[in-house]
């Protein structure tokens, strides 16, 4: 119930007036009889109980479904839907923030999966493959270093939660891929990268690979990569978590099918795009 306010309102309402107004506001709501109250109360008990039970069963259902690559089916679907959403919003011209070199630090070498300590960087050769696995090229580090040199200082994010600003040096993957454009079918959507023995492998979407800040990196903090940071050549991009930034690249394969991914097989999202 509202009464039209007089045009000149008194400057301050008294505490008493305020108390009356507040109570009136509270009571300005639907009123029901005692009988209706009892009916609604009973109904709420039944509906509320059913809803709580449905919620509980739904929760149990999610956790007990068949697993797809080590997580329940519905959660894998959730990852796929999120991927579709963020791929749709992806803008290839949007660059990750860059920082002053003075703020950069050498990150810890987190994980050595697939790294071979006995690998001789001088004897190392990168193997480039087409969609059918056919050999397109083998090249040494000098050939990668002959591509336009790019320096960037971006924030490395680990899937565990920590982050570090790092100065990277390398060649854009897009410049590297341009070498093979005539040998490949058009519009291949994926790239697979693996360590020399294939023990660690990641799958990448082509859009992320062709981004201007996705590098085949051969130096960190101005010095050639150490063994544990992936000498002689590693992947770097601010579009993915560190788990995708494969160290000691042995094989790069342009692919028509979504490539296998080491951590996806262990329950993680395949896309994990930033």
């Amino acid at each position: 119930m509202t009464t039209p306010e007089p045009p000149s309102r008194p400057p301050r309402e008294t505490d008493q007036e305020r108390a009356v107004r507040l109570q009136a506001e509270m009571l300005d709501a639907p009123m029901i009889s005692e009988a209706a109250f009892r009916t609604k109360s009973r109904r709420a008990f039944v509906v509320g109980g059913a809803a709580a039970l449905a919620g509980f069963l739904g929760w149990r259902w999610i956790g007990t479904q068949h697993e797809v690559e080590n997580i329940p089916f519905l959660l894998r679907e959730g990852h796929r839907l999120n991927e579709q959403l963020w791929r749709g919003l992806y803008n290839p011209d949007r660059l990750a923030p860059t920082f002053a070199v003075s703020r950069s630090r050498m990150p810890i070498a987190n994980g050595s999966l697939g790294l071979r300590s006995d690998l001789d960087p001088d004897a190392w050769m990168l193997r480039v493959e087409g969609p059918d696995g056919a050999l397109l090229d083998t090249l040494d580090l000098a050939a990668v270093q002959a591509l336009p040199r790019v320096e960037m200082t971006t924030e490395l994010k680990c899937i565990e939660g920590w982050s570090e600003i790092v100065h990277w040096t390398g060649a854009r993957f897009s410049d590297f891929a341009a070498r093979y454009v005539n040998q490949l079918p058009e519009g291949l959507p994926y790239v697979s990268l693996a360590t020399p023995d294939g023990d660690y492998y990641v799958g990448m979407d082509m859009a992320s690979m062709m981004h201007a800040q996705t590098l085949l990196c051969y130096a960190m903090q101005g010095a050639p990569l150490t063994m544990f940071h992936g000498a002689p050549l590693r992947l770097v991009t601010p579009l993915k978590y560190g788990v995708k930034l494969l160290k000691q690249i042995g094989i790069i394969r342009f692919s028509a099918e979504r490539p296998a991914d080491y951590w996806t097989e262990r329950g993680y999202d395949w896309y994990i795009g930033h």
Partner: protein, 248 residues
């Protein structure tokens, strides 16, 4: 279904015995939010476990580290990073949608009137706290919610928005780089995201204690929507039925 109750609307002249406290939409969204937030905190802790850096301390001295190993073990939060992320990014959307619907409903329906603190809110909240601690005889005047509740409930809504925004920032730090910058950088956004979680838990403890203190009919009002009028409220209603004298 009781035919007699549903076919026959209560006569408008009769004031009735119970007043609606929480519209159906608010009740549903409140009770949906509770398990959703619980899942978000649970899965969030499974993520946090992988890099549990936060502590209360100064320099090399630590008063409390979040969290002791036993905490993770007892609640099965350790070594579940992959699942933690999977649940977090799935239920995060449900939490967000529910929150947006709640704010939208509150604004459109006019419910915000009951929630929005007025200019006496800080003073009243202080008086409410004193009254709760038995240091003050009478509670300050209030509507559906007292000033302490209004401040807290509006605060928790802002916190919810903060969790969604900081969460999105650390979820897509390149796509949403502007948001990361706005929130003071990746590591700072992550810190806010964590602190907000601690605040939810603190809120939950106080909220639960206050609900227990307020009694059953207040709690049941959040489930069924109505609460029987207290004698003074019924009296107030009778007063308002009589015509007030014309303002000069």
């Amino acid at each position: 279904m009781t035919p007699s109750a549903s076919n026959e609307p209560p006569p408008p002249a009769e004031p009735g015995r119970a007043v609606q406290k929480h519209p159906r939409a608010v009740r549903w969204m409140h009770w949906v939010n509770f398990p959703l937030l619980a899942v978000m905190i649970w899965s969030g802790l499974r993520i946090y476990w992988a890099d549990d850096v936060y502590r209360i301390g100064w320099g090399g001295w630590t008063l409390f580290a979040f969290f002791p190993d036993g905490f993770y073990e007892v609640l099965d939060l350790n070594r579940h990073l992959a699942r933690g992320m999977a649940y977090h990014y799935f239920f995060g959307w449900l939490f967000t949608i529910n929150g947006i619907l709640y704010v939208g409903y509150t604004v459109v329906s006019g419910e915000w009137r009951h929630l929005c603190p007025d200019r006496h809110a800080l003073r009243d909240a202080w008086h409410t706290a004193l009254h709760d601690l038995h240091l003050r005889k009478t509670p300050p005047p209030q509507g559906r919610y007292n000033a302490a509740q209004r401040l807290t409930y509006v605060g928790i809504i802002i916190m919810g928005a903060g969790s969604v925004l900081t969460g999105l920032a650390i979820y897509k730090p390149t796509q949403l780089a502007w948001l990361v910058t706005l929130l003071g950088g990746y590591t700072f956004a992550r810190t806010i995201h964590f602190v907000l979680t601690l605040l939810y838990v603190a809120f939950f403890v106080v909220h639960l204690a206050q609900v227990v203190r307020a009694g059953w009919s207040n709690f049941w009002g959040m489930v069924m929507g109505y609460e029987r009028l207290k004698p003074d409220e019924a009296a107030g209603l009778a007063d308002s039925d009589t015509e007030p004298p014309e303002a000069p």
